[in-house]
Symmetry: C2
Subunit: 261 residues, 2 copies
């Protein structure tokens, strides 16, 4: 493949540009295409699809490690901001692909709506760029990403080859297991699960009450085709994710309500 034919790949994440997960992803992408990194200058987990509209953004070139023969930019914004500014300001042309991650922590099931990693992929999808979010079910900054390499490469190359339908991006999650235990890939639907919140109420030294959000993940889904079940069974889960949120199946019912003039 000649140099000018290499796909142009925008890489971002939500754990920040120095996180081991994105460094691993950059290393893999470097074997596939021409890589440009635009990623947050600090952790942005749980940012959902936040964008920065009341503040300005910095986006400075940086050199992080030996893979920085490629272009890297550290951005003061959210993951969605990184994609917007990457695609519009930094890249010389529309990228052929956007990959986000590898997130330190699960983005399976309902986590997709809280996820900065996936918001970056969705933002790229909105802009017409094929996109994949990758996550590993291990929150540790010492997480081992070795077993992800083969599948990240294979899935990425498949997306470049096949494309993705308009309005669809991929949400890929990896179980925390050794290479030998990984059983393969499963195409899944998003499990119906939620966080059962608990708030830890404390008092500041000044006597003001405050809270820490914590909680327990509760899978309410009994189906056998979900991402949560695949991951528990040591499969890589792939959920195709769309951002037309319309509940088409409820539209007719709603039309029958007596709310119309």
């Amino acid at each position: 493949m000649q140099k000018e034919e290499k796909p142009l790949i925008l890489v971002t994440n939500d754990d920040g540009i120095t996180a081991p997960g994105i460094r691993h992803l950059i290393k893999i992408m470097n074997t596939i295409g021409e890589v440009v990194v635009v990623a947050p200058d600090r952790p942005q987990s749980g940012m959902g699809h936040a964008i920065t509209i009341s503040d300005n953004l910095y986006c400075d070139p940086v050199t992080i490690d030996k893979y920085s023969q490629i272009k890297e930019f550290s951005c003061s914004g959210t993951p969605a901001d990184c994609v917007k500014i990457g695609a519009q300001e930094i890249l010389r042309r529309k990228p052929d692909l956007c990959v986000s991650g590898i997130n330190h922590g699960s983005n399976s099931s309902i986590n997709v709506i809280y996820s900065g990693t996936m918001s970056a992929a969705v933002e790229a999808g909105v802009e017409g760029i094929p996109a994949i979010g990758f996550s590993l079910l291990d929150y540790s900054m010492e997480a081992n990403f070795d077993h992800t390499t083969k599948f990240v490469k294979r899935i990425t190359e498949s997306v470049i080859k096949n494309g993705l339908p308009k309005g669809v991006v991929l949400n890929v999650n990896f179980p925390k297991v050794s290479d030998e235990k990984l059983k393969g890939v499963k195409v899944c639907r998003q499990a119906n699960a939620r966080w059962q919140e608990q708030f830890d109420k404390r008092q500041s030294p000044q006597g003001r009450d405050y809270y820490w959000l914590s909680g327990e993940f509760v899978n309410q889904d009994e189906g056998h085709d979900t991402d949560v079940e695949a991951l528990e069974d040591n499969y890589v889960s792939i959920v195709p994710v769309k951002f037309d949120l319309t509940a088409h199946e409820f539209m007719n019912d709603l039309k029958s309500w007596s709310i119309h003039d």
Copy 2:
């Protein structure tokens, strides 16, 4: 209706607890049920479904205006945080309904994914609480909400009466028109539209480049059943919104890809 039968309504927004839009919404909800307000202590527009996981949350009782015979709490978190802490910590029981808004500005079309207003409604939906997000297509803090009253009341009462299917919340947008010009209500799908970003590049007094995000809303949808078209035609738009983001229609194709072991 006896007092103990009144529905318990959690009210929130993303423009902050003192914004005229939420004050108007509180006034209407006060005629329908027992109201508890848990809303951000400052504007949180564009926060998407962000949640606060690396910082603590304050949630203090406040008195804002004459409608504060009801319970109000000002929260340092995002709209999604407000719903979590409201439902788990503040309310004595699970609310019968959560309403969010009335937002100063449109949440039609793709704006639903950036919207703090809708993230609050979606968060409530995830927690099994029927929920509605209301928005007015007028960003001004002097916006006129008079024409929204009748429809907000009617839609809210319909949701209380009929309930909503599991996994569905409503996204209601109002055009910026006078009462007489409002033609009624239309059940719509989310228009396929996007923001065409432009970044305004400037230099700080210290010589560092920075950017302001701006952009133009582009409707790429030619259908006649979209929220954008209904609003342009002076209808109130209602889109049923779901948070199972799975693109079910693409699962079979994806299963045929050569990514499986």
